[in-house]
C-alpha cells in the first residue's frame, strides 16, 4: 500500500516548472520516502528531490516491511525528519531497530548497486541506530554496529535555529567540499557522541561530512553556531561509500528563496543553498542509472 499523506499538489508542479527536468527519454530516478508513525518532514523532503526530476513514492514503513522487495525498485531511500514512534525510547530507536532487524539486506543491496540513502534529523538518528552510519562492524559478526550516538543537546532541550554548515568531505555524492549551506536545525537530540577511536576512524576515512561553522564560515563554532554541543562541530557524517548521508540540520527547509532567514534583508543567495545535497545526489543517480 504505497499511500501518501501529501502528494504534492497540482499547483506545486506548475510552480516548480522549469526547475524540474522531465525529459521523457531517460529512465526516471525513483526515490522512496519512508514514513513511520510520527514522521513529519516527508512531503518537503520528497519535494526537494522531485524538483530535480525524481519520481517520489511515499510509503509507510508497515507497507515496506510487508514487502521489502519494493526497495529493489528504487534508486534512493530517504528517511525524513520527525519523531518516529514518538522517540520515547531515544530518538530513532524504534524505527532504527525495525530497519536493522528486518530491512538490513535490501538496504545494503540498494547502496551496493550505487543507490543512495539520506537520513535527515530523525532519519540521521535512525541511521546511527541501525549502524549503517558510520558503518563499522566492531563485533565481527559481519554487520555494522551502533558506534555513534546522537545524544541530548547540551542545553537539554529542543532547539530551532538557523545554522551555517560547511561540507568538509570529498567522499560524498551529496556534497562538494567547501560548500556552505545555511539552513535550520530543529531537534532535541543532535549532539554527536562517539569514542576517540571511532572519531579517528571517521576522520581518516573522510567520513565527517558536515560541520557547524560560524556565519562567516569559520571553525570552531561555539553555541549558538554549534547548536547542540556536538563533538568537533559535527553536523553530518557519511558511510565509507559516500552514498549514505545522515545530518541533523534540515536542508529541505531552505529550498525556496523566501525560506532563507536572510531573504527580507536582501542578502540571501538567489539559489537556495539547501538544494545542494539534493541536486548533487540526483546528478550522481542520473549518471549511475540513466
Amino acid at each position: 500500500m504505497a499511500t501518501s499523506t501529501g502528494t504534492p499538489r497540482r499547483r506545486a508542479k506548475t510552480a516548480a516548472k522549469g526547475k524540474a527536468s522531465t525529459k521523457k527519454s531517460t529512465k526516471p530516478i525513483r526515490i522512496l520516502v519512508l514514513r513511520a508513525p510520527g514522521t513529519n518532514c516527508d512531503r518537503e523532503s520528497g519535494y526537494a528531490f522531485e524538483r530535480f526530476g525524481a519520481r517520489i513514492t511515499h510509503m509507510h514503513v508497515n507497507a515496506l516491511l510487508d514487502n521489502p522487495k519494493q526497495l529493489s525498485r528504487v534508486h534512493g531511500l530517504v528517511i525524513p525528519g520527525g519523531f518516529s514512534y514518538g522517540d520515547d525510547l531515544g530518538a530513532g530507536t524504534v524505527l532504527g531497530t525495525a530497519l536493522r532487524t528486518q530491512l538490513r539486506d535490501p538496504i545494503h543491496r540498494l547502496v551496493d548497486k550505487g543507490g543512495i540513502v539520506l537520513g535527515i534529523c530523525n532519519g540521521f538518528q535512525v541511521l546511527v541506530k541501525t549502524g549503517l552510519l558510520p558503518g563499522y562492524d566492531e563485533t565481527g559478526d559481519g554487520e555494522p554496529d551502533r558506534t555513534v550516538a546522537l545524544a541530548s543537546n547540551m542545553q537539554n532541550r529542543y532547539e530551532d535555529r538557523w545554522v551555517t554548515l560547511r561540507a568538509v568531505t570529498d567522499n560524498s555524492v551529496f556534497l562538494k567540499r567547501g560548500d556552505l549551506i545555511h539552513c535550520p536545525v530543529a531537534h532535541a537530540e543532535g549532539r554527536l557522541v562517539c569514542s576517540d577511536a571511532v572519531l579517528d576512524r571517521m576522520s581518516a576515512a573522510d567520513q565527517i561530512a558536515l560541520r557547524y561553522v560560524t556565519p562567516e564560515g569559520e571553525s570552531p563554532a561555539s553555541f549558538p553556531h554549534n547548536p547542540n554541543g556536538s563533538l568537533d562541530d559535527i553536523a553530518g557524517i557519511t558511510d565509507p561509500t559516500g552514498r549514505v548521508l545522515g545530518l541533523m540540520p534540515h536542508p529541505e527547509r531552505n529550498q525556496f528563496p523566501w525560506q532563507d532567514a536572510r531573504f527580507h534583508r536582501g542578502t540571501a543567495p538567489r539559489k537556495p543553498e539547501g538544494l545542494k545535497p539534493f541536486e548533487n545526489a540526483m546528478r550522481h543517480l542520473k549518471k549511475t542509472f540513466s
Binding site: 500500500m1 499511500t3 501518501s4 499523506t5 501529501g6 504534492p8 499538489r9 499547483r11 506545486a12 510552480a15 514514513r35 508513525p37 510520527g38 513529519n40 518532514c41 518537503e44 509507510h60 508497515n62 525528519g81 520527525g82 519523531f83 514512534y85 514518538g86 522517540d87 520515547d88 525510547l89 531515544g90 530507536t93 524504534v94 531497530t97 525495525a98 532487524t101 558506534t147 555513534v148 550516538a149 545524544a151 541530548s152 543537546n153 547540551m154 542545553q155 537539554n156 532541550r157 529542543y158 532547539e159 530551532d160 535550520p184 530543529a186 557522541v193 562517539c194 534540515h250 527547509r253 529550498q255 525556496f256 528563496p257 523566501w258 525560506q259 532567514a261 531573504f263 527580507h264 534583508r265
Partner: protein
C-alpha cells in the same frame, strides 16, 4: 490492558505471580559523559529552593512483565532500551553508580500513576514485541540521584515541586525495586436510574453537586419537570449527557444568553448577546470569501478558490493550572483535532499559543496554597506545547506571553490551529444509515467531567479533587489519526467528521446526530483498561479520538486503511432518522432522549448586567530630561522582553513553509506577525497575528475590544497582509459572569468587537469563551482574572515575497511614523511600569481602515523596507526593537510625530492605535509621501536609519524653546541585552 491475565481474585495489591516476574532494567549514562538531563534536574531542584546541591544524575528505569527469560530481558535492554554508545544498564539489580561527588546520594523515584497515559512505556512495549519478545506490560520511571547537603525530607519536598507532579505521578524516596502492575477490575454494567421526580430545590442542587454535573437549580428543575412529563426517572447516563451538553463549556449560556445591560450609554437588551453583536457583524458584512462561520469546529475562509483556510483558538486554562504539561499539551492536541474535525477534515499547517501567567519573579511566599509558582507553570506549559506541537509536525509560528499577578492561581492558555481544507470538503452532514465510526486513541477514565470542571472556579483543593479531569496527551497517536484522516478524506470516505473534545463521545455523537438521531453501543469502544462504567465510556475525554460518519459501503476501505497504519477504528453505532439519542451497552439501554430536549431544552434566563469604567486618575508627571532608563526598563518587562527561550523550543520551520518567523533580523528581534506558505511550490501564503491587552479592559472592555482588533490587524498589515482579506477570531477568558458587574464587562467587549468588525469590514469567523476564571485562596479571597480578550487574525497573502519584517535594513533610509499619537496612556505599559493604570485608554480613529489600506499598498509596491507596530511600550519600544533587531541604528525627532500631544514622554510611550513605524527605500520616499498624503494618513518623517548602532531620540526642550534636546541616546547592544534578559529561564550557554 484489556487482555490482561486472569489471575486469582485477591486484592489488587497482591504481588505478581512468581511465574511472571517483573524485571527491572536500570539505565544510566556511561562515566565521564556530559549529563544535560542531570544538569537540568539540578537547576530545577535549586529553583525549588533545595540548597547545597553538588550533583544530580538521572537514571531511566523500566519494569517489564511477560513470558521472559533473564537472557531476553538482557537483550531487550541491550538492543532497544539502552544506547550502547553512551549508556550502561543493569537488569534486576541497582546500576553501579561509580564515583559520585562523595557520600551517598538521596534517591528519588518518579513514577506515573496507574491509568495515566505513559507513551514511553507504550513505545517500549511496542518495540520489544517488535523484536519478538513476549512482553505483556511495561512501566517506566525516572530515578534521580541527588548529592546535596540537604536531608532526605527536604530533597523529597523539592522533588515534588521540581521533578514530578502529584496529580499524575508518585514521587517516592528511594528506588522502586518491585513494581506491581495494577490488576484490572471487572465491572458489571447496569442501568441505573436516579429518582429525581420527587426532588425539590435544595435536593436537586445537592444531587448536581454529588454527581459533579455543575447544573444550576433551574436547570435541574427543568430536567425534573421533563421526566415528570415522560413519567419515568432519568438514568445516570441521561443526566450526564444533559450535563455535558448544557455545560457552559459547550452551550455558552452567558455569551449566547439573554441579558439586559445598564451603563452610562443607557439601557439595552439582548436576546442572544453573541448573535446580536459579533455574529451579527459578520452577517451584515456578508463577505463572499467567508465559506463557513460560527457553525463548524472552525471558521473557514477562501484561500485560493480551490482550498479554504480554517482557524480555531481554544482555551485550556483549568487543566493547565493543575498539570501544566499535560494541560497545555492536551490543549494544543484538542485544538488540532478541532481543525481535523472541520468539514470532512482539514490539514493543520500552523499553531499559535498565547499564555497569561503570574509574574515569573514572584516570591515563593506569595504563591497561594493550591497553586504552583508561575515559573513552574510556564515551564510546564511550554514543554507541553512543545512536545505535542513538534511531534504533530505543525509549526508553532505565532504567540504572546502576558504576566499579571491575577493569573497566579488561574493561568490562561490559548492554543490555536490553522488548517487547509479543499472547498468540496467544507460542508458535512451525517445521513441516516451512516455508521458512527470512532477512531484513534483508546478510551480510559481520562478527563471525566472536564467540560463541567472547566466551568467552575478553581480553589485551594482543586489540585487534589479534580485530578480526574487531567489528561496527558499522546501526540503520536494523534499524528497517526491525522495521517489516515487526510487519506480517507481524499478517498471520499466520510460524510461528516468531528472531534471528541469536552464531553467525549456524548458531545461528538450528540452534535453530529442533532438533525438525525443515533443509536450507539458503548461496549464497542476499545478501552485502555477494564472496569469503566458505561457513563464513563460515554463522557470520557480520553484524547486523540475522532468520530466520523461513514456510509456502510465504505467502512471496509476505511478499516483497511486504519489497519495498515496501526490506527484503531470501530463502529460505535448508526445514525438514525428518529431524532433520538440512544445509548446502549450491549443490550442494556442506558439513554433514550429526544434531540430537541437535549439541544434546546436549556432554560433561558434574562440576566442583568451593569458597567462602571475602571482605572485610576491620569498621572500628571513632569517631563524628564532623559528616558534611557525608562526604555531599558520597559524592554526588561517580561511581557515585552524576548520570548526566545520559548520560541526556540517550538519547531517553527516544519512543513517548509516559514516565511516570516517569530524572531527576525540579523539579531533576532520580535516579528509583528507570522507568514507561512502552506502549499509546497506555491507562493501564496497566510499571515497570522494577534491582539491582546487586558489592562485596557480594566478601564473599559469596549475600548479594549476595539484596540485589540486594531492591534491584530495592524500586526498583520505591517507584515504585508491585505486588510480587506483578514478574518478574526474572538476568545474570551473572563471571571465569574454570574456577577452583573462582570457580565457587564463582557457585554461591553462584545459591543466593541461588533463595532470594530463593522468599522474595519473585518468579519469574525469563530470564537470561544472560557468563564469562571477565578481562584479562591485558602483565606477565602477570590482572585478573578482581568477581562482577557484575545483577537486572532488570519489573512491571505497572494505572494509571500511581498512581505515585510520589522528589522531596519539600510542606513540612510528615511523613517516615518504613520497615524496619530495622542495622550492615550491609560492601560499603557509605561504606566504599569510605574504602578499606575490611568484612564485615557486609546480609541480607534474612524479613518483607521483607509490608513491600513494605504500602508498595505506601500508595502506591496516594495517601497517599505521595514515596518513595525507600536503597541506595548509605544513608539519608544517599537523604535528600539527595529534598531536592535538589525546591526543599524535609528535617529528620531519627536517633534515630527503627528498627533495631538506634544509632550515628549507621552509621544514616546503612548499606545495610541493604528500607528506604524516604517523605513522607506530612499529612492521611493517621494512616491511614498505622496501616497500617504493622498490617503489622508498622518505621516511624520521623523528620522533616518543610521549606520551607528544607537537609538537616538531628540525633541523639544522640556522647558520650551527652540533648541533640540536629546531624550534618549543608548546603544542598541544595551537595548538588546535588556530585552533578552527579561525572560531568561535557564542559565546555560
Amino acid at each position: 490492558m484489556p487482555s490482561a491475565t486472569k489471575s486469582s481474585s485477591r486484592s489488587a495489591r497482591a504481588p505478581a505471580r512468581a511465574s511472571r516476574p517483573v524485571y527491572r532494567v536500570e539505565i544510566g549514562l556511561q562515566a565521564g559523559l556530559p549529563d544535560p538531563a542531570g544538569r537540568e534536574a539540578h537547576e530545577n531542584l535549586a529553583e525549588a529552593g533545595l540548597g547545597g546541591i553538588r550533583e544530580v544524575r538521572v537514571l531511566r528505569t523500566f519494569y517489564l512483565r511477560g513470558s521472559l527469560s533473564p537472557k531476553q530481558v538482557e537483550r531487550a535492554a541491550r538492543d532497544v532500551l539502552a544506547d550502547p554508545v553512551q549508556e550502561r544498564f543493569a537488569v534486576r539489580e541497582d546500576l553501579e553508580i561509580g564515583a559520585g561527588p562523595g557520600g551517598a546520594p538521596v534517591v528519588v523515584t518518579v513514577l506515573r500513576k496507574a491509568g495515566v497515559t505513559n507513551s514511553e512505556a507504550e513505545s517500549a512495549r511496542h518495540a520489544l514485541q517488535g523484536i519478538g519478545l513476549n512482553v505483556r506490560d511495561v512501566q517506566s520511571a525516572r530515578t534521580y540521584l541527588v548529592w546535596s547537603s540537604a536531608e532526605k525530607g527536604e530533597v523529597l519536598a523539592a522533588a515534588r515541586q521540581a521533578l514530578g507532579n502529584d496529580v499524575i505521578e508518585d514521587v517516592k524516596l528511594g528506588r522502586v525495586r518491585t513494581f506491581v502492575f495494577p490488576k484490572p477490575a471487572k465491572r458489571r454494567i447496569k442501568r441505573r436510574t436516579v429518582a429525581i421526580r420527587p426532588m425539590k430545590g435544595k435536593a436537586l442542587v445537592t444531587l448536581s453537586y454529588q454527581m459533579g454535573l455543575s447544573l444550576t437549580k433551574l436547570e435541574m428543575e427543568t430536567i425534573r419537570d421533563r421526566f415528570i412529563e415522560l413519567d419515568r426517572d432519568p438514568t445516570d447516563v441521561e443526566l450526564e449527557t444533559l450535563a455535558q451538553t448544557w455545560s457552559e463549556h459547550c452551550k455558552h449560556k452567558t455569551l449566547a444568553g439573554a441579558v439586559t445591560m445598564t451603563d452610562a450609554d443607557g439601557e439595552r437588551s439582548f436576546d442572544n448577546l453573541l448573535k446580536e453583536t459579533i455574529f451579527d457583524a459578520t452577517m451584515k458584512l456578508g463577505k463572499s470569501w467567508c465559506w463557513s462561520v460560527f457553525e463548524d469546529n472552525a471558521g473557514v475562509i477562501d484561500f485560493d478558490g480551490t482550498d479554504g483556510v480554517c482557524m480555531k483558538v481554544e482555551t485550556h486554562n483549568h487543566p493547565s493550572a493543575i498539570e501544566p504539561y499535560g494541560g497545555a499539551g492536551t490543549g494544543i492536541g484538542g485544538v488540532i483535532r478541532d481543525i481535523l474535525g472541520t468539514g470532512k477534515g482539514a490539514r493543520p499547517v500552523a499553531n499559535t499559543d498565547i499564555f497569561c501567567f503570574g509574574p515569573p519573579d514572584l516570591p515563593m511566599s506569595e504563591v497561594p496554597k493550591g497553586s504552583m509558582h508561575p515559573r513552574r507553570v510556564l515551564k510546564g506549559v511550554v514543554a507541553g506545547v512543545r512536545d505535542y506541537g513538534n511531534r504533530m509536525g505543525i509549526p508553532t509560528v505565532n504567540g504572546a506571553v502576558l504576566f499579571d499577578p491575577r493569573y497566579v492561581g488561574n493561568p490562561v492558555v490559548y492554543a490555536g490551529c490553522v488548517g487547509i481544507i479543499p472547498k468540496r470538503d467544507v460542508n458535512k452532514r451525517a445521513r441516516p444509515g451512516d455508521l458512527v465510526v470512532a477512531f484513534g486513541g483508546k478510551t480510559g477514565r481520562d478527563g471525566i467531567h472536564g467540560a463541567t470542571f472547566s466551568s467552575v472556579e478553581l480553589h485551594a483543593e482543586s489540585e487534589s479533587v479534580s485530578s480526574g479531569a487531567v489528561q496527558i496527551g499522546d501526540p503520536i497517536t494523534e499524528k497517526k489519526v491525522l495521517d489516515v484522516l487526510i487519506q480517507a478524506r481524499d478517498k471520499r470516505l466520510f460524510t461528516a467528521m468531528t472531534d471528541c473534545g469536552a464531553g467525549g463521545f456524548s458531545s461528538a455523537v450528540g452534535e453530529m446526530a442533532e438533525k438525525t438521531g443515533a443509536d450507539v453501543d458503548v461496549s464497542k469502544a476499545p478501552l485502555k483498561y477494564e472496569g469503566l462504567d458505561a457513563y464513563e465510556i460515554w463522557i470520557s475525554e480520553a484524547q486523540e479520538r475522532m468520530v466520523a460518519a461513514i456510509p456502510p459501503a465504505k467502512w471496509e476501505t476505511f478499516k483497511a486503511l486504519c489497519d495498515s497504519e496501526d490506527v484503531e477504528a470501530f463502529v460505535l453505532g448508526t445514525f438514525t432518522d428518529d431524532k433520538r439519542l440512544k445509548v446502549r451497552h450491549g443490550k442494556t439501554v442506558l439513554c433514550d432522549m429526544d434531540m430537541a430536549f437535549l439541544h434546546d431544552g436549556v432554560p433561558r434566563v434574562v440576566r442583568e448586567a451593569t458597567f462602571e469604567p475602571g482605572g485610576d486618575a491620569e498621572p500628571t508627571w513632569k517631563t524628564k530630561k532623559r528616558y534611557d532608563k525608562d526604555i531599558l526598563d520597559l524592554l526588561a518587562m517580561p511581557q515585552i522582553g524576548s520570548k526566545e527561550w520559548i520560541i526556540r523550543q517550538y519547531d517553527h520551520e516544519v512543513q517548509a513553509g516559514a516565511v516570516v518567523r517569530p524572531l527576525t533580523g540579523a539579531n533576532d528581534g520580535p516579528s509583528d506577525a507570522a507568514v507561512v506558505a502552506p502549499t509546497l511550490g506555491s507562493n501564496r501564503g497566510l499571515v497570522l497575528s494577534n491582539g491582546i491587552n487586558p489592562t485596557f479592559g480594566e478601564i473599559d472592555p469596549y475600548a479594549m475590544a476595539m484596540a485589540t482588533v486594531d492591534e491584530a490587524l495592524r500586526n498583520a498589515v505591517a507584515t504585508g497582509a491585505d486588510p480587506t482579506r483578514i478574518a478574526v477570531l474572538d476568545n474570551f477568558t473572563w471571571g465569574n459572569c454570574n456577577r452583573p458587574s462582570t457580565r457587564g464587562t463582557i457585554v461591553r467587549a462584545c459591543e466593541g468587537c461588533h463595532d470594530a468588525a463593522m468599522l474595519f469590514g473585518t468579519p469574525f469567523i469563530s470564537g470561544k469563551d472560557s468563564l469562571n476564571n477565578e481562584f479562591r485562596t485558602e483565606d477565602g479571597e477570590l482572585i478573578s482574572v482581568p477581562p482577557t480578550l484575545l483577537i486572532s487574525a488570519i489573512g491571505v497573502i497572494k505572494d509571500v515575497r511581498k512581505t515585510c519584517t520589522s528589522d531596519l535594513k539600510q542606513a540612510g533610509n528615511p523613517v516615518y511614523v504613520l497615524g496619530a499619537t495622542h495622550d492615550e496612556l491609560g492601560g499603557s505599559h509605561w504606566y504599569r511600569l510605574k504602578g499606575r493604570v490611568g484612564r485615557n485608554v486609546p480609541k480607534v480613529p474612524s479613518e483607521a481602515p483607509q490608513w491600513m489600506l494605504a500602508v498595505h499598498r506601500a508595502i506591496k509596491k516594495g517601497w517599505v523596507r521595514a515596518a513595525h507596530d507600536p503597541s506595548e511600550g509605544g513608539l519608544a519600544v517599537a523604535a528600539a526593537e527595529m534598531a536592535f533587531a538589525s546591526d543599524l541604528g535609528l535617529r528620531l525627532d519627536l517633534r515630527k510625530v503627528k498627533g495631538t500631544t506634544k509632550d515628549a514622554q507621552r509621544v514616546l510611550f503612548s499606545e495610541s492605535t493604528t500607528r506604524f513605524v516604517v523605513e522607506v527605500d530612499k529612492a521611493k520616499a517621494k512616491d511614498f509621501e505622496a501616497a500617504m498624503q493622498k490617503a489622508g494618513v498622518p505621516c511624520g518623517k521623523v528620522g533616518r536609519v543610521t549606520a551607528e548602532p544607537r537609538l537616538m531620540i531628540v525633541g523639544k526642550v522640556p522647558e520650551g524653546g527652540r533648541t533640540t534636546h536629546t531624550f534618549v541616546d543608548v546603544s542598541t547592544d544595551k537595548l538588546r541585552t535588556s530585552w533578552r534578559g527579561a525572560l531568561a529561564l535557564s542559565e546555560e550557554n
